[in-house]
Symmetry: C2
Subunit: 438 residues, 2 copies
């Protein structure tokens, strides 16, 4: 047998999906999150899919490569485009510290490459009838654990006007309501660890939120707190000290302050107080080039990777081996996403032995109404996504749903994520992202 | 289409191949080198092949896994056996510093895993009609550069009695004869860099050998010298200084002295003298666990990987990304091998962007008479092995040749490599490997 797969066409469909008014140190989520859905159709009519960051810039970056993609063999394309993964030097002020993931120019090419790699792997998997995890080394687990991802939020379930979604959780802008959100989320998905998005209220209230979560859930449910660099080193150390017990049971303190140097100082000061809570990062460290300095300075003990911006699945595997070598933990960062990305994360996690913490996911914030995969939302059971024997990523596109997503996108007034603009519109016309804020 | 590949049978064939009386700091090569040739036959009758270390221990390690291998899907097997790659702690005295590659207990499981991984990839490639390099990320080069690998040697072409091979190079135990060897080897294979196996004669003669090579070949042909840890730190520094010019043009100083600490001291002292010749290693650093300390101490600037003992092709790719991250060069170590291993090295090299030096190969020391691949020896043209579009590793077994290799093995009195025994037999009955020797 000789398998000839040739990509006949690449299609990129920009979509908008309803997103609740979630708060973070970046500001406020807009009523719609943007995504791009990719299709790579072979001459045999098999369609490989992938999902990446939304809006115009990612779409344009993909379309620019159309000539290299059409006619290519997906087995070879990931090789011939490897040059996209080589170092892009980082301008510290245009990094993920200041820009939301997906807008960080440092990894623009890596994001584009990753979207193509996943689509190629799905196309190969669907052509040969094999799950993606088994194309990239073979699964080491069948169930991939994810973590609950509670946010402070305003009232509303996302979407606008007649297209509004049900608000399952209501307004959550206090410790008590945040705990209520987590309880509901756990009831529905069975999550066994909690990653709490902080950097929104005064740190004392956020400390109180974690303390209430700990009292409610007990020491068996690891807790993480992520203020996205909103704190000074002093505040970070104070929070680390006050939450030493609560975060110390398998949890972590994520990007409390900006920069590798800042993180390293937090680490040194916490250790000097006898507090060994690990620091995790997907803001201070966003690419391989950041690692030598971060490791030298012990700035982070857990790297939160994301195949969407680390250069794809195989690069996540390289990263995990590097982390294992340097005794760093590994987990996974998440942006708003639908089922295609969720399955991408699950497949790479399934084929990555050194994954030491449950992965983040925004998935509970999206709804059935917006899901673009056939059969609707991917089940998360006991906090896990199951890897089945279905080929590729195990999901196919529902083209009616995709068309609806595109219609929503066409109606949407924005073409990139802007949490600051949304914050100014709804909360404070003078709002600015200030780092550190506290 | 759904592709069902199930391994019906694993066959391991131990073979012996003639090997000239090459000298190194480990002693003297025996008249036959041992290898094991693996076959993984699927229920469809496709046969995936691989080649690994020879003799009984590697064969037994493979056969022990027979139950896990037979009936397995090769896409999945590399996942379900991943546990074999997790840390085996190293006993410093039972390391590659003292034992030849293939006898180092630290990486025993990784060697076994690697042999299986390559066989699975070849089986997949041959089933779907794709080259192995395109199964592991896609090729970034079509021609893989190798380096000439001259040795001091006694007269003789390998083999014994009526089974002796032609001695192409004659005795080479002086600078002049070594240079003659390199000239012949370059005429035949077109190598564009030279890796010279030292640690055999007095360092002054080895320095003279490099100087003569440099005079003969000019600065355009990078020179490397590898005494396999035979020198003290002082001697290593002295050689580094005396050969600063000759090794400085794209060459390196490989494992001059034992241990990461020793290498680090050599590096520091050379740098303090303004000599920036990189140190390479496949003895001081043999596994991921060695890297953090080696990197911290700047003990090596080039890692010589080998998929045969680093845990397979994908782990070589992980390693290369790690090296790129830490600004280390990457090249490839070699043992005596035939065409299956050569193509394995070539395929992983083809799919590894960060390969910064031509790979080592012993291949010129083996002969057509012993080659087990159909069509005879793999061409090395202008120093390169070409990656074609042939499926898998691009080679098939010649079963008559394999049977001859096995016959030779049956007649061979030894079941593992022992360069010390051979040295005692032919050169000095009291010979012992002494580290450091000079």
């Amino acid at each position: 047998m000789s398998l000839e797969i040739k990509i006949k066409e690449m299609r990129v469909t920009p979509i908008a999906i309803a997103d609740p008014p979630l708060r973070s140190s970046y500001g406020l989520h807009q009523p719609y999150a943007l995504r791009n859905i990719l299709e790579f159709e072979s001459e045999d009519g098999v369609v490989g899919i992938s999902e990446t960051y939304g809006g115009e810039a990612p779409m344009d970056a993909l379309l620019t490569l159309n000539e290299e993609i059409v006619g290519a063999d997906p087995f070879e394309l990931t090789g011939s485009l490897q040059h996209m993964l080589s170092g892009q030097s980082g301008d510290a002020d245009a990094s993920q510290t200041h820009l939301v993931p997906g807008e960080n120019p440092v990894d623009a090419n890596r994001r584009t490459y990753a979207a193509i790699e996943v689509g190629c792997l799905d196309l190969i998997g669907k052509t040969v009838g094999k799950p993606v995890c088994d194309l990239i080394g073979g699964r080491v687990r069948d169930r991939v654990p994810f973590s609950a991802y509670p946010f402070y939020k305003h009232a509303g379930g996302g979407g606008e006007g007649g297209d509004s979604r049900e608000d399952k959780y209501g307004e959550c802008l206090s410790p008590e309501t945040l705990v209520g959100q987590v309880i509901k989320m756990r009831e529905e998905y069975g999550f066994k660890s909690i990653k709490f998005k902080a950097g929104v209220l005064n740190p004392n209230e956020e400390i109180e939120t974690i303390k209430q979560l700990y009292r409610e859930l007990g020491p068996g449910i690891p807790l993480r707190i992520d203020p996205n660099s909103a704190w000074t080193v002093d505040t970070s150390v104070r929070v680390g000290k006050e939450l030493a017990v609560e975060l110390g049971r398998g949890g972590y303190l994520e990007d409390p302050t900006a920069s590798i140097a800042g993180m390293a100082e937090v680490r040194r000061r916490l250790l000097s107080e006898g507090i060994n809570t690990p620091l995790a990062t997907n803001v201070a460290v966003t690419c391989f080039e950041d690692l030598p300095y971060a490791i030298k300075e012990d700035a982070a003990q857990i790297i939160l990777c994301d195949h969407h911006y680390w250069g794809g699945m195989r690069h996540v595997q390289h990263l995990a081996q590097l982390c294992q070598t340097f005794d760093l933990g590994v987990s996974m960062h998440s942006n708003n996403h639908l089922g295609v990305s969720l399955m991408g994360m699950a497949h790479v996690a399934a084929a990555t032995p050194h994954l030491t913490y449950a992965c983040d996911t925004h998935y509970p914030w999206q709804t059935e109404e917006d899901e673009v995969v056939v059969g609707g939302r991917i089940p998360i059971i006991e906090g896990c996504v199951e890897i089945t024997d279905k080929p590729g990523l195990g999901v196919e596109l529902d083209y009616d749903q995709l068309a609806r997503g595109r219609e929503r996108y066409e109606k949407c007034p924005y073409r990139k994520r802007d949490d600051t603009a949304e914050m100014r519109k709804h909360v404070d016309p003078d709002w600015e992202r200030k780092l550190p804020r506290w």
